[in-house]
Symmetry: C2
Amino acid sequence: MKAQLASYLNRYSSFSLKEIDIIFDTLSVQKFQKKEFLLEQNQVCKYRFFIIEGLVRYFRTDHDGNENISLFGIENWWITNLDSFINKIPSQNAIQAIEKTTVLYISKDDLELLYFKIPKLERAFRIITEKTLIAILRKDEIYMKQNSKERYYNLVDTIPNFVQRVPQYMIASYLDITPEYLSEIRKNR
Amino acid sequence: MKAQLASYLNRYSSFSLKEIDIIFDTLSVQKFQKKEFLLEQNQVCKYRFFIIEGLVRYFRTDHDGNENISLFGIENWWITNLDSFINKIPSQNAIQAIEKTTVLYISKDDLELLYFKIPKLERAFRIITEKTLIAILRKDEIYMKQNSKERYYNLVDTIPNFVQRVPQYMIASYLDITPEYLSEIRKNR
DNA sequence: CGAAAATTTGACATGACTCAACTGGAGTGG
DNA sequence: CCACTCCAGTTGAGTCATGTCAAATTTTCG
């Protein structure tokens, strides 16, 4: 796990072994079974989670009880409710394991401390956040301009095998399509 | 302008007068008339723009010639095509002044240099990027779950006076509604 | 004042949703 | 290891929100 983290972080800035040790020692490890929650709706999100292995969904349950997925998190991604984490406000979203998932996690205070001790980490997170922003903006642009069918096949083409890892109704929710209509789409090619 | 920049940056980290001087001296100033382009579609976005005053739109023109606005930029916001700026790839989007607009701008190399000279600036940008990400995610969530009418009145309520500053067809484009249908919506309260 | 651009109006078309019923497979307990 | 249940996925009928297109009207601005 330390090696995985090191190779991930070194993509963004080069860290010495000693620095990696400090960072790794500040992180905690936790395993979640399928369907376990990393974060419950209406709780303050106290951690940033780095997914070592597995798959999670980030979603909210609305007034009518519909679950609405806005993100998935996979290996080598950070996942958190940033708004809740930074501003210490209750999260409108939950984070739940779809597969058995192993994460490293860190609290806000510990992360700030690390930024202070290892400024290069602040740089790494500046870049990571920029990349995340770019990814979200790309998704927005693509999805704004495409109809349901295009969105679905875009996903299928962009991340092959992904639809195999996730139940169809979750894909539908993520693409903002009803499960019934997605079924319809799939039937016609 | 220097005072405005200073007060903006000090929201995120505290900078000495000397540091502000260094930063300000690295930035250039430019004015754009209404309809002038800060960035043309298919060009590489060479700068990050900080809007001192005015209003711009960030949009792409699709194959059918439809303009599709995904962002607006107003006073005290940075605007750029981050993907293009960072990865030096042609921008799918243009940035154009809607009102007479004054900006400060900086190139990637100069910004990197500043990060190096003034690490606190890297911190500030880490936080700014996080805030931007939070704003985009909030927008996503709101808009995913609301119909056209709700989206429109949400915008009207959230940023009063904004709809007065921007032609209606641009609001429609931003909200992903046809101009005709937005007109319909407004008619019925 | 006149031309061009923005907005509105109305008729019609359709993508996507709702709801309810059905099918099929996966997991569980007896 | 069978029978039962439960949940995901499918199907179909009916409906609605929103889009398209074309024309009329209003506003903007040189």
